[in-house]
């Protein structure tokens, strides 16, 4: 698979007194092949980790009331990687000990396929849980990726979140 190693972030601060102190760091990639969630989780796992939070975005068969057959994802790849790295840096800097792995897929995806996967680990659960939410919100706001939805009737359209019907988000 065409994983691309982008960078390893530097340790956010000097290791704490315990030799087992976790180090911040991460992995980001824009990929063309299906995302392997197990491998992504393995990238943030080791004996110092107590909590792993993941977020997966998947292709739905309906969006804003229209029946979708698939989605084409396009990226401005070098900038998308740079923005993902910046987001990861910010998140790890805010949360020493955090480890992050982020992959976004491009190309044509079918219903149910994973378009984006984020895995965050930390010795404690609160930072791991907070990190996935922070990263997906920042990614949706800042990373230059676009999606073109293909509909049952054969038409297609670029998704513009600035004009979409506002989703209702209970809970």
């Amino acid at each position: 698979m065409r994983w691309r190693s982008f960078r390893r972030w530097p340790v956010a601060e000097a290791a704490a007194s315990a030799p087992s102190a976790a180090q911040s760091g991460g992995w980001i990639a824009i990929v063309e092949q299906p995302i392997d969630v197990t491998s992504l989780i393995a990238r943030v796992s080791d004996g110092s980790v107590g909590a792993i939070s993941t977020f997966l975005g998947t292709v739905r068969h309906v969006n804003d009331g229209r029946d979708v057959t698939g989605i084409e994802y396009h990226a401005y790849q070098p900038m998308a990687e740079r923005e993902l790295a910046l987001i990861a840096d910010e998140t790890c800097t805010a949360s020493p000990g955090l480890r992050l792995a982020i992959e976004h897929r491009v190309g044509t995806l079918g219903i149910g396929e994973v378009s984006v996967a984020i895995a965050a680990s930390h010795p404690r659960r609160a930072p791991a849980l907070a990190a996935t939410t922070y990263v997906i919100e920042a990614l949706k706001r800042r990373v230059p990726i676009w999606k073109c939805e293909h509909y049952v009737d054969g038409s297609r359209a670029w998704v513009d979140p600035t004009t979409s019907v506002a989703p209702s988000t209970p809970l």
């Binding site: 740079r82 990726i145 676009w146 670029w158």
Partner: protein
């Protein structure tokens, strides 16, 4: 001078190109480039303040650009 602008998604569809040579004044700010781009066929799709990146970083409209810069005019992002 001529700035080569990268276009994506709906903008690439509207302009019929993923890379466009745009004649601009010297010196040139991002806003000047956008104005020039808006005068080309397809330019009507651009909002008043489209997103622009120079050398892979988001920039405001008053940033100066040269022919050495990688400039991209970017439609609303929709990753995730």
């Amino acid at each position: 001078m001529t700035i080569h602008v990268l276009l994506f998604a709906s903008y690439a569809d509207a302009f019929g190109a993923r890379r466009l040579a745009v004649p601009v004044p010297v010196p040139c700010r991002v806003d000047d480039l956008v104005t020039a781009l808006r005068g080309l066929p397809g330019g009507h799709v651009l909002p008043s303040k489209p997103l622009v990146a120079v050398n892979h970083a988001w920039v405001p409209g008053d940033v100066s650009i040269t022919t050495q810069d990688e400039v991209a005019v970017i439609p609303p992002v929709a990753g995730g």
